[in-house]
Symmetry: C2
Subunit: 269 residues, 2 copies
């Protein structure tokens, strides 16, 4: 059975715990993250991911999706916590009595958990620093039927509130792995897989490139792009037209344009 | 000749003025906006847009691009202001002695300033609320050789610091117009132009749609999408594959995937 309790004070340790999950250091120590909003939590539930702790406002209006969430948490033996709406606002940052939040255990993000043959496309981001871009890449990956997102080197934290929010639920549908380049490349070469770099250097037109599944589409850091050595290790370097003054696209945009192109090619085969 | 002065106090009215430009209400009243960073200001200069006021740190290191900026502002009769690096940090929010900022007059964003035949592609965003998405659309527009971005109904402010930053300089290369839908549609129909909606409703595959220049590619609000009536007024409704759980893409991503597809078609003609 799930435990149920009501919190009435701002200084309650659980309130402090929930707030601390906005901070990366605390997330890493607790191995827990926060997802907010009924839609996101419903996406999670429908993917079989149930929060360990479900937080709601006392006096909220009933909602069938909230009922379903509560039932799922109860069944899983999780904790259901109600708190005054002004305390909840301190947790979620939103002054909304319909607000709801859940605490999830972070997923296992080792490369070894990835089954590369499970999907024709995988997205790879190197030193991606913006959590919004990271979440957007997860969302795009979901849309193109990618298997997941592999984060190379020092990226933004995929479990940050911003990344989770920008993923629009894809944090629960896409596999996530984190690895150093030195670990990723041998792993990739230990099986099938074409590594494709979005590149500005000597490269192939992204419209005519010979994409092959499983296709690993890699974009680089927002300001530096990919290191030259990483690009050289790729099977394919592709480029998109840059007709204006700028010499690069937003990283999440470049990944999406490339992913949709690869998807169209791979579906034609 | 440009005026030159050095500011040493936090309470200086110019410091307050600069800080106030982070606020939309003040921007609209002053009809001025702030752009930050040497790269952005250099982009502006190379597009012939010179700040009315250039703000730099005293004791900064010399840089040829800074020299060029100073010379341009001097030539245009603008104002050059130096301030202690800790005061500058209050203006730019960045603790960086290389920081530099410029105050620009807002551009004329009336529809009537747009020459639709000047470019094969125009991006259109309706009720786009996220300034990052807005700036990213400007950046994408630059890359695909679009003429500019037309903002329909209540959008984020394109002159916000966040939008200007995300545009990566495209705020200075892309035309910008703002209009209500009731104004936009008659304007569009008063000349040539194909209006294309990124749509989830009954629609054509975006890969095979018959794009025609000047092609106006429209995306809707981040959470609502386009109003049904707006889509019905379009010449073409196109959709991208959505193979996962999510039913939509990030708005800036949808616009970019569509823009690159239209570009490829229009270049083949």
């Amino acid at each position: 059975m799930a435990s149920r309790r009501t919190i009435t004070g701002f200084s309650n340790p659980l309130v402090k715990f929930l707030r601390s999950l906005r901070d990366k250091k605390h997330r890493k120590r607790e191995k827990r993250f926060l997802a907010e909003g009924l839609r996101l939590l419903t996406d999670a539930r429908e993917c079989g991911k149930v929060p360990e702790i479900l937080v709601m406002a006392t006096g909220r209006e009933a909602h069938p999706l909230l009922d379903a969430l509560e039932a799922a948490v109860e069944k899983a033996g999780g904790e259901i916590v109600e708190m005054d709406v002004d305390i909840l606002a301190k947790v979620t940052g939103k002054d909304n009595p319909q607000a709801v939040a859940g605490v999830f255990a972070e997923f296992d993000t080792r490369l070894s958990t990835i089954d590369r043959d499970a999907a024709p496309i995988w997205l790879v981001a190197q030193a991606l620093r913006d959590p919004g871009n990271l979440g957007t890449m997860l969302r795009t990956g979901d849309a193109v039927g990618a298997g997941g997102l592999i984060l190379i080197d020092d990226c933004a934290d995929p479990f940050s509130v911003e990344a989770v929010r920008a993923s629009m639920g894809a944090i629960f549908t896409q596999k996530l792995a984190t690895a150093r380049w030195e670990e990723f490349l041998p792993w990739l070469r230990s099986g099938s897989g074409q590594l494709v770099a979005a590149s500005l250097r000597d490269s192939t037109d992204y419209r005519t490139a010979p994409y092959a599944a499983p296709c690993f589409l890699m974009v680089g850091n927002e300001s530096q792009g990919l290191p030259a050595a990483y690009e050289e290790a790729c099977d394919l370097r592709v480029t998109m037209p840059m007709l204006g003054r700028a010499d690069s696209l937003n990283a999440a945009v470049a990944g999406a344009v490339l992913a949709y192109e690869a998807l169209a090619h791979l579906r034609e085969v």
